[in-house]
Amino acid sequence: MPTCISLNNLTKHYGSTVAVKNLTLKVEEGEVLGLLGPNGAGKSTTLYMLAGLVRPDEGKINVFGRELQRNFVSIARRMGVLVERPVFYDYLSVRRNLKLFARLAGHDVNVDRLLDLVGLLHAGNARAGALSQGMRQRLGLAHAMLTEPELLLLDEPTAGLDLEGVQDILQLLRYLAKDARVTIVFSSHQMHEVESLCDRVAILNKGELVACERTDALLSYDQTSVEVLIDGSEGAAKRLSEQSWVEKVEAKPGRLQVRLREENVHQLAAFLVTGGYKVSAIMPRRRTLQDYFLKVMNQSEKGAAS
């Protein structure tokens, strides 16, 4: 697949603080990339450098195969950006704000369709200044989609939204990613959003890229950590704890949580069945993004300390 975004050794300092350090990353067309990281990790700075709002000190940014600084206008026509806490002209209505920005972009747009998409049609005539944070966020998303972009850069798109709003926005983004094949790069603190939406996650810490993996690989089943539904869990736990291939076992009424030293569920199953235990199910635990994130962050912190 062709490359949509290519970041090469991108570095940005704010005074003596390193916001982004030697970031090299590629995003393919049609891909959804999630940027994860603690506060101050450099997620927003990376997005804003991509949006042309922040100038990198070093490094190169290529979007749609063109250098961003030199070809900003042609790239911006194909790009939509949702900034953190989007602000609009308070004295203009929601509809007028969008029409105004569409005109600035030289784009003819069906504002009502866009408002409908983000669930803001009922507030079309409301002043932007009277909107709640969640509604502003929806307006920000509508603003980002004004020009039917091929690339969307979203800084915490669900911030300030209620549960229903989060679901609406995620559904919309899923539609954009899967059906409209829009390339999306977004930052978030919400692991479940990233899990459900992204093809790939990039984890940043202190401005550095510490991991970048495909989501489906990360979210596979962990064959070393299993849950067993079993009768006589106490006895089974005692016998299992004596086995060298078992790292840890924890008994709960009617179930066991077993941590194996290696991926060897068959051995566990055979051991329990031949031991005469009545086993209803053996379920490998599904890895979560949070596990991966914490693991990566832990490694990163340890690496920095050493």
Binding site: L53, V83, L104
Partner: protein, 263 residues
């Protein structure tokens, strides 16, 4: 590029039209002109009242109007920086220098509007309450009404140059500071400071604000039956004004180019 500047300028105008407080400046200068007969009484007494126009135009335009213009222009970029709306604009296909030039055109249009309001209202008032005939001296007609109105029109056009320089000066401060209040203080303070030190430093000939009232000098002299030449004053007005415009606009662009527009 021109098309994008025009688009950005139309974007600016749309906002100005829909922002109710944009009308405050024009209304204030209009009030100043309307109140002028209290300070400079005129009547229908067969004597031309060009002196009234020559009095009120610089007062309304070069003091109150210029002050309002500086404050208005100082808010052009800084208000967008303070509120964060600038990010929504600059993620669109508009380059930063095009944005600054559109803002400059916005301020220039505002100056033109104030000038037209002062010009039209002062002439209307003089026509309604006083006399607008030729200027005579000892019974001899020195300047016809047409010559007077032409002198005024030329003065009006010429007066735009130092006002536009003021716009560029304030725009520069507007790009320097995120706070509209600081930008306005810088622009007004800068103007006053330059005016205070230009004579002791002997640089008054090179300072645009020296020539704020120069465009009205010919009209004003004629209203007192004194002939005055346009030149070389015109060159000083244009030269200093456009030099300031070029330098301040360039600095405003550089300041905005270097600015990081993160949250």
């Amino acid at each position: 590029m021109t098309r994008r500047i025009v688009q950005a300028y139309l974007f600016e105008m749309y906002k100005v039209i829909h922002y109710k407080y944009s009308a405050m400046g024009p209304v204030l200068v209009l009030i100043a002109v309307v109140c002028a007969p209290l300070l400079y009484p005129i009547s229908k007494d067969e004597v031309s009242d060009y002196g009234f126009i020559a009095y009120i135009t610089p007062v309304a335009l070069n003091f109150l109007g210029f002050l309002l213009l500086l404050i208005y222009s100082a808010g052009l970029v800084s208000t967008e920086l303070a509120s964060g709306t600038i990010r929504q604009v600059l993620i669109r296909p508009v380059r930063r220098h095009e944005f600054v030039l559109a803002k400059l055109l916005n301020g220039m249009t505002y100056a033109l509007l104030l000038t037209l309001i002062v010009g039209a209202s002062s002439w209307l008032l003089a026509w309604l309450l006083g006399e607008l005939m030729g200027v005579t001296y000892g019974g001899e007609l020195l300047f016809t009404r047409e010559e007077m109105s032409n002198a005024y029109l030329l003065g009006l056009l010429l007066s735009l140059a130092p006002q536009w320089a003021g716009v560029a000066l304030a725009l520069m401060f507007s790009s320097f500071f995120r706070s509209p209040m600081t930008a306005a203080s810088g622009a007004v303070g800068g103007w006053i400071l330059i005016d205070l030190v230009k004579y002791p430093l002997g640089i008054e000939r090179f300072v645009f604000s020296t020539y704020l009232e120069k465009p009205w000098a010919v009209f004003s002299s004629r209203s007192e039956a004194i002939a005055l030449d346009w030149f070389p004053g015109v060159w000083y007005v244009l030269g200093t004004s456009f030099a300031v415009m070029a330098v301040c606009t360039a600095l405003a662009i550089v300041a905005l180019q270097r600015r990081n527009l993160s949250a």
